[in-house]
């Protein structure tokens, strides 16, 4: 099976989750693969990553990485399930951290609100678009729009160390 430890080496079990946003932070993550794909294949067990695979499973994650703001009731339920299944949760990008720019509608005037009301109702949107911390406890965050690639690497490195996954220097 994909993602099982190679030999005896332990891997960091991660999931990547996207909520309401532009997926620009995921794009930065995919761009980081240009240089880090080889080492990540050895260090990381991608349990849940919709952009890379279709057989996803969120049980038993060490680290869940979350991008995007929370805009609907379904978002809230999914976010809480992710938290229950992950030892650590890291949020990335300003949408997840403070809601913007995904939360544009929070500042709409009455006229604009009236226009979008039928869609909000029909698809179960929340009255306001909310940051992730409103619903769950998070362990760390990577700011930026898109997220800072350097800070992301530093944070990820921290989790690899915390979970005892030795990075292989020089690889």
């Amino acid at each position: 099976m994909a993602g099982r430890a190679v030999g005896k080496r332990k891997k960091l079990r991660i999931g990547w989750f996207t909520f309401t946003c532009c997926e620009g932070c995921a794009t930065v993550f995919v761009e980081l693969m240009n240089d880090h794909f080889k080492e990540w294949r050895e260090q990381i067990d991608f349990r849940h990553c919709r952009i890379l695979k279709s057989k996803n499973d969120m049980r038993g994650m060490d680290l869940a990485i979350v991008e995007g703001a929370i805009a609907s009731k379904d978002d809230v339920d999914k976010l809480k399930t992710i938290r229950r299944n992950a030892k650590r949760v890291m949020i990335v990008g300003s949408c997840a951290i403070n809601g913007m720019p995904a939360a544009l509608r929070n500042n709409f005037d009455a006229k604009k609100m009236k226009e979008i009301q039928p869609i909000l109702r029909k698809f179960g949107h929340l009255p306001k678009v909310e940051p992730v911390v409103k619903f769950i406890k998070v362990d760390s965050q990577v700011p930026g729009c898109p997220m800072s690639d350097k800070m992301f690497l530093a944070e990820l490195g921290g989790y690899l160390a915390e979970f005892g996954v030795k990075s292989a220097p020089g690889e």
């Binding site: 994909a2 693969m33 695979k53 729009c145």
Partner: protein, 429 residues
């Protein structure tokens, strides 16, 4: 018979954004296909109203991370048309280069990370053995060069910082431009892995919908006229007369028809209509890969993307080698009010922006997104594929995988279309 119940696919993987698919089946016939884009709307059409013209490019960039430079460039073009700004020659070259970078990076992501597993026969690039991993690594080197190109010209590959209304705030440094030319020349050969693999693929589904794409004489993605495969030309400011919005009540996005009929946009229509304008080195070295075109086989969209990758490299090398960039300040708009249309070719097809400006603020705006234009046609092709599979007695699991492959061939972007996939098979008695 095992094909007696409906299909429901949830949250399709290896595409941009979230979508679900519901398919109703009665006997051997498909009764309904509903591609329900489940991405939560972020209401950009409303959000842009009332904002100043300076705020628009960086805001619309946030519609979609992977093609952010396309949204930015198209909005800038619409504003410039509205306010009477004629961009300089250097600005046009920089726009071409930044779009080359965007298209090359986006196609590389789509082909090497999303589509390659379908060709190799695994679920994910993460499952590849050493030989196939080599192709991915070579592909990632191409993607990196593309990222470097966008970064050099636009400041960043995601949510660029240099492009502004009237020009770029910074010109590329010569030393960096020279280094990039070297890198482009070095990775060029890698693209032939993708070209050969997608040429060799035997997937086939004939799609008769007409092609719509920008046509010009150097296959750039920024300036040209919009043409159709039946020989019609559309003026920029008349696009609304031809493209009709189709409301899809089950989806968080809308679809489009061209004069009342479905049509397609993207790499396949571009190569079908404008093959002769590809860079001469691309035409020469990819001659055998160009043989199938013009093509009605929708899977050739991926081959067309690989050809465009080669073109983006060849064209960028030529532009970088022949340009002598100097510092320029962005031009100031002459007026404060007016209406303008921007039309460009984004990675997934023609993108239109119509912006109406009053006193340097957006009064109203219309955006027509590539994936929304392909949606009606995509649903029709899924129906055709499922009916072919049903008549062959294909098992449910294979059928679902076939559908996903077809949708990935289209390379939809749900972040843009609002955002992608669940299939729900619904059985009618």
């Amino acid at each position: 018979m095992h094909n007696t119940s409906d299909i429901h696919i949830e949250d399709l993987s290896k595409i941009e954004g979230h979508t679900n698919l519901d398919i109703g089946i009665k006997g051997d016939k498909v009764t309904s296909v509903k591609l329900r884009i489940s991405e939560n709307k972020r209401f950009y059409t409303q959000a842009i109203r009332g904002l100043t013209i300076d705020e628009i490019p960086s805001l619309v960039s946030r519609i979609c991370g992977t093609c952010s430079i396309s949204h930015m460039t198209c909005a800038i073009e619409a504003l410039e048309t509205a306010l009477g700004v004629e961009p300089s020659e250097q600005t046009l070259v920089l726009r071409n280069l930044s779009m080359n970078g965007t298209i090359l990076r986006d196609h590389a992501m789509h082909l090497y990370l999303f589509c390659l597993p379908d060709i190799i026969g695994t679920d994910s690039v993460l499952d590849f053995g050493p030989k196939d991993m080599r192709i991915v690594e070579r592909g990632l080197a191409v993607k990196k060069a593309a990222n470097n190109l966008a970064t050099l010209v636009a400041g960043r590959a995601v949510h660029a910082i240099y492009p502004k209304l009237g020009g770029f705030t910074q010109a590329p440094e010569e030393a960096k431009a020279n280094r990039l030319v070297k890198e482009m020349k070095y990775v060029r050969d890698n693209v032939f892995d993708a070209l050969d693999l997608f040429l060799g693929s035997d997937y086939e589904l004939e799609c008769s919908a007409r092609d719509v794409a920008m046509v010009n004489d150097d296959f750039n993605f920024v300036k040209g006229s919009i043409m159709t495969s039946d020989g019609q030309a559309i003026q920029d400011d008349e696009f609304q007369d031809h493209l009709h919005r189709v409301v899809l009540p089950y989806s968080q996005a809308t679809g489009f028809e061209f004069q009342g009929k479905e049509y397609k946009v993207g790499a396949l229509p571009r190569i079908n209509l404008n093959e002769k304008s590809l860079h001469k080195d691309t035409r020469k070295d990819a001659a055998k890969h160009l043989k199938p075109f013009p093509s009605k086989n929708i899977y050739h969209n991926n081959l067309a993307q690989a050809i465009e990758m080669l073109h983006c490299i060849d064209n960028s090398i030529e532009l970088l080698e022949s340009s002598d960039f100097k510092d320029e300040s962005p031009l100031m708009p002459k007026g404060k009010s007016g209406a303008g249309v921007g039309v460009i070719e984004a990675p997934r097809g023609t993108l239109y922006y119509e912006l109406i400006v009053k006193d340097s603020r957006i009064h109203d705006g219309t955006l027509v997104i590539p994936t929304a234009q392909n949606q009606v046609n995509m649903e029709r092709d899924i129906r055709k594929l499922v009916e072919e599979d049903l008549s062959r007695g294909t098992d449910r699991h294979t059928m679902e995988h076939d559908i996903e492959k077809l949708i990935r061939a289209y390379d939809p972007c749900m972040s843009c279309a609002s955002h992608f996939l669940k299939v729900r098979w619904k059985q009618e008695q």
